[in-house]
C-alpha cells in the first residue's frame, strides 16, 4: 500500500515537472517566462526553508542572510576568479552552509522564539554590513550601489539571452531540492527532525543528538538558499544588499511554506504556485497606484491560514480528495 502510494506520488511529481517544463514553450511571451521563473525560484526558496523551518521546526525568519551571501560569493567568484557559476553555486552553497553552521551552533542553544529573533538580527546585520562596507575581504562589493555582473554570455557563464533557459534551470534545481527534501523526510534524519520539531526535550531524552540534527538541517537548508541566491544573481545580473539580504523575502519563504503545508514535500511548491503569481500580477498591474497591496494580501492570507488552517492548505486538499474518492467508491458499490 505504502510503496504503491509513493509510486503514485512519484508519478504525480514527474508529471508536474514535465508539464512545467512545457510552460515556456507554450507561453513564449517574455513576461510569462520571467513570471514563471520567479514562481519557481520562490518555490525553491520555500522548499529550502522547509527543511529547517518545517522538518526541524526551527522558525527561521532570516534565510535572506544565506541567499544574499550565496549571491555575493558566486558573483565574486565569477567576476574576480573567473569561476563558472555552475561550480560557483556549489562552492558558495558549501561556504554558506559552513557559515550558517558556525552561526547556528551558538544560536541553536536558544529555543523557540529566541532562535527566530536571532535569525532576524542575522539578516539585518548582514544587510547593514554590506551597505556599510565598500570592500569586503579585499573584494569590491560596491556597498549599497550594488554589483553589476559582467556579461560574458556563454553557457559556461550561466548567461542566456532567452529567459526560458533560466526557467528550465530553476526547474531542474527545484527538482533537486524536492528530491533531497523527499529523501530527508523518509530517512532516519527526517524522523529525528520530526521528533525534535514536536518536542525537543523529549527527543533529546530519547537519545537524539538534537544539536547535531538541527545543524544538519540548517546546513542543507542554507546550502540550497545560497544556491537559490546564486541563481538569482545570474538571473537578474545585478545584486545589491537591499534586494538580496531582504527581510521580506525571508518572511515570504516562511509564508509560502506555511500556506502550502509546513513539513510536507510539496507544500512549499503548492504555496508558491498559489501565492507568487497572485502577488506578481497584483504588483505589475496595481503596484504603481496601490503600492503595498500585494503584501497586504500576503499578510492577510498568512493570518487566515494560521487561524483557520494551522497545517496549511495541503491537508485540506487531501481531505477533499478523499471525500471525492469515497463518493466515487460509494457510487460504484451502488
Amino acid at each position: 500500500m505504502n510503496a504503491k502510494s509513493s509510486l503514485k506520488r512519484n508519478c504525480q511529481m514527474i508529471l508536474f515537472f514535465v508539464i512545467a517544463a512545457a510552460f515556456p514553450l507554450v507561453f513564449t511571451n517574455s513576461y510569462f517566462k520571467q513570471l514563471g521563473t520567479i514562481v519557481l525560484l520562490y518555490a525553491f526558496y520555500a522548499s529550502a526553508w522547509n527543511i529547517l523551518g518545517g522538518y526541524a521546526g526551527q522558525l527561521s525568519l532570516g534565510h535572506g542572510a544565506y541567499i544574499g551571501l550565496g549571491a555575493y560569493i558566486t558573483t565574486v567568484l565569477f567576476s574576480e576568479f573567473y569561476i563558472s557559476p555552475w561550480l560557483g553555486m556549489v562552492i558558495s552553497g558549501l561556504m554558506v552552509g559552513l557559515f550558517a553552521v558556525a552561526i547556528g551552533y551558538p544560536c541553536f542553544k536558544l529555543s523557540g522564539v529566541y532562535y527566530s529573533l536571532s535569525t532576524i538580527a542575522l539578516v539585518n546585520v548582514m544587510r547593514l554590513f554590506f551597505i556599510a562596507e565598500d570592500t569586503i575581504f579585499g573584494f569590491k562589493t560596491g556597498s549599497s550601489l550594488g554589483y553589476k555582473i559582467e556579461w560574458r554570455g556563454t553557457l559556461i557563464d550561466m548567461q542566456f539571452l532567452d529567459k526560458k533557459y533560466y526557467f528550465w534551470l530553476i526547474l531542474l534545481l527545484l527538482a533537486v531540492v524536492v528530491f533531497v527534501s523527499h529523501r530527508i523526510k523518509n530517512s532516519k534524519t527526517g524522523y529525528y527532525l520530526s521528533a525534535i520539531s514536536t518536542n525537543q526535550y523529549a527527543a533529546s531524552s530519547l537519545g537524539i543528538n538534537t544539536t547535531y540534527y538541527k545543524l544538519k538541517a540548517l546546513f542543507i537548508s542554507a546550502f540550497f538558499a545560497a544556491v537559490g541566491g546564486s541563481f538569482y544573481a545570474m538571473f537578474i545580473q545585478y545584486i545589491d544588499p537591499a534586494s538580496v539580504f531582504n527581510y521580506d523575502t525571508s518572511v515570504e519563504m516562511t509564508v509560502l511554506a506555511m500556506v502550502g503545508g509546513r513539513s510536507t514535500v510539496v507544500g512549499p511548491i503548492i504555496g508558491s504556485l498559489l501565492l507568487v503569481p497572485l502577488k506578481e500580477i497584483a504588483r505589475s498591474n496595481l503596484g504603481a497606484s496601490f503600492a503595498g497591496l500585494p503584501l497586504i494580501i500576503y499578510g492577510v492570507i498568512l493570518m487566515l491560514v494560521v487561524y483557520f488552517l494551522p497545517n496549511g492548505i495541503l491537508p485540506l486538499f487531501k481531505h477533499w480528495y478523499s471525500i471525492i474518492l469515497r463518493r466515487r467508491r460509494e457510487d460504484l458499490s451502488v
Binding site: 523557540g112 527566530s116 529573533l117 538580527a121 518572511v251 516562511t254 492577510v300 494551522p310
Partner: protein, 294 residues
C-alpha cells in the same frame, strides 16, 4: 568632550522612549510568553493616528494621549480577545510558531496598509515647539525629546505602581510566574491576557504621541522601533521590566555614541550585534519568571 556629553544627552533622551516601547513588549511577553512581532507596526499605526489627530483637529500632541491611550488599550484588548485567544484555544502552548507567524502576518499587513494609504513619503507633525531647544551651559537640549523622556518615566512609574499595588497587577504577576497555578487560584487567565495585551499596546499608543513632535512618520518606521524593542527586551531579560528600562537607556546611548563617532549605519549594526551576543550569552532558562523576581 563636548561631543561626548552632547551625544550622551540625546542618546539618553531617545533611550527613555525606546525603553517604554520595549516595556509594552516585555509586559506582553512576561505574562503570556508570547512575542508580539507586530509591536513596532502597532507603534507605526498609532503614530499615523496621532499625526492625523494632531494635524486635522489641531490637538496638542501631549493632550492627544488622552484620546489615543484609551483607543490603543481597546485595540490591544480586542486583538488579544479575538485573534490570539482564538489561536491559543486550538494550540497547546503560547510558544507555538503559529502565534508568532500570525503577528508577523499582521505586522506585514499593517505596514503595507500604511504604504497603501499614505504612500512612502514621510509625514511631519507641525507643533509650536517643534525643533525648539534650550541650553544648559553649552549643551543643547531638545524640548520635545525632554518632554517625551519625562512622560516616559512617568508612565513607567505608573505601570510599576499598577503591577505591584493593585489586585489586577498582582494577578498579572501571578500568571507570569505560573499560569496553571494562577488558574487554580481562580484567576481568569484569558481575560488577564487581554488586559496585558491592552496595556502593552496602550503604552505603545502613548509612545506614539510622544515621538511624533520630533520624529517623522513613515510606513517602515515599525521595523526600526520594533527591532529596537526586541533588542532591549532581550538585553534586559524577557519579561523583566526594570531590566528593559535600563537596557533601553543603554541602547539609546550606544546608538548615539556609535552614530556620532562612526556612522549611523554602524549604529544600526552594532545594536544587532549586541542583540545576537545578548541572545547567545543568556541561555533561555535564565529568562524564566523574571517579571516575578524583579
Amino acid at each position: 568632550m563636548y561631543t561626548l556629553i552632547q551625544s550622551a544627552i540625546s542618546g539618553l533622551l531617545m533611550g527613555g522612549v525606546y525603553a517604554i516601547i520595549a516595556l509594552g513588549l516585555s509586559l506582553i511577553f512576561g505574562v503570556m510568553k508570547l512575542v508580539n512581532f507586530a509591536h513596532g507596526d502597532f507603534l507605526m499605526a498609532f503614530c499615523y493616528v496621532a499625526w492625523a489627530v494632531v494635524s486635522f483637529w489641531n490637538v496638542d500632541p501631549y493632550l492627544s494621549i488622552l484620546i489615543i491611550a484609551p483607543i490603543s488599550f481597546i485595540v490591544g484588548y480586542m486583538f488579544q480577545k479575538i485573534f490570539i485567544n482564538g489561536i491559543l484555544r486550538k494550540e497547546k502552548s503560547t510558544e507555538s510558531p503559529n502565534i508568532r507567524l500570525f503577528t508577523v502576518g499582521f505586522a506585514w499587513s499593517l505596514g503595507n496598509l500604511a504604504l497603501l494609504l499614505f504612500g512612502a513619503n514621510i509625514q511631519v507633525t507641525n507643533t509650536a515647539y517643534k525643533g525648539s531647544t534650550f541650553f544648559v551651559g553649552d549643551y543643547m537640549i531638545s524640548i520635545p525629546r525632554l518632554i517625551a523622556f519625562a512622560i516616559a518615566l512617568f508612565v513607567t512609574a505608573i505601570l510599576f505602581v499598577f503591577l505591584y499595588k493593585t489586585e489586577t497587577g498582582r494577578a498579572l504577576r501571578a500568571i507570569s510566574q505560573n499560569r496553571f497555578t494562577a488558574r487554580l487560584m481562580g484567576i481568569d487567565v484569558e481575560r488577564l491576557y487581554c488586559i496585558a495585551f491592552g496595556i502593552g499596546i496602550m503604552v505603545v499608543g502613548i509612545s506614539a504621541c510622544l515621538i511624533i513632535p520630533f520624529y517623522s512618520v513613515f510606513p517602515t518606521m515599525g521595523s526600526t522601533f520594533g527591532l529596537r524593542s526586541f533588542v532591549i527586551v532581550v538585553l534586559g531579560g524577557m519579561g523583566n521590566l526594570p531590566g528593559a528600562l535600563i537596557s533601553g537607556l543603554f541602547i539609546g546611548l550606544l546608538e548615539a555614541f556609535v552614530g556620532t563617532y562612526l556612522s549611523t549605519t554602524y549604529a544600526n549594526m552594532i545594536i544587532f550585534i549586541v542583540f545576537i551576543i545578548a541572545l547567545v550569552v543568556r541561555s533561555s532558562n535564565w529568562f524564566q519568571n523574571r517579571l516575578a523576581r524583579a
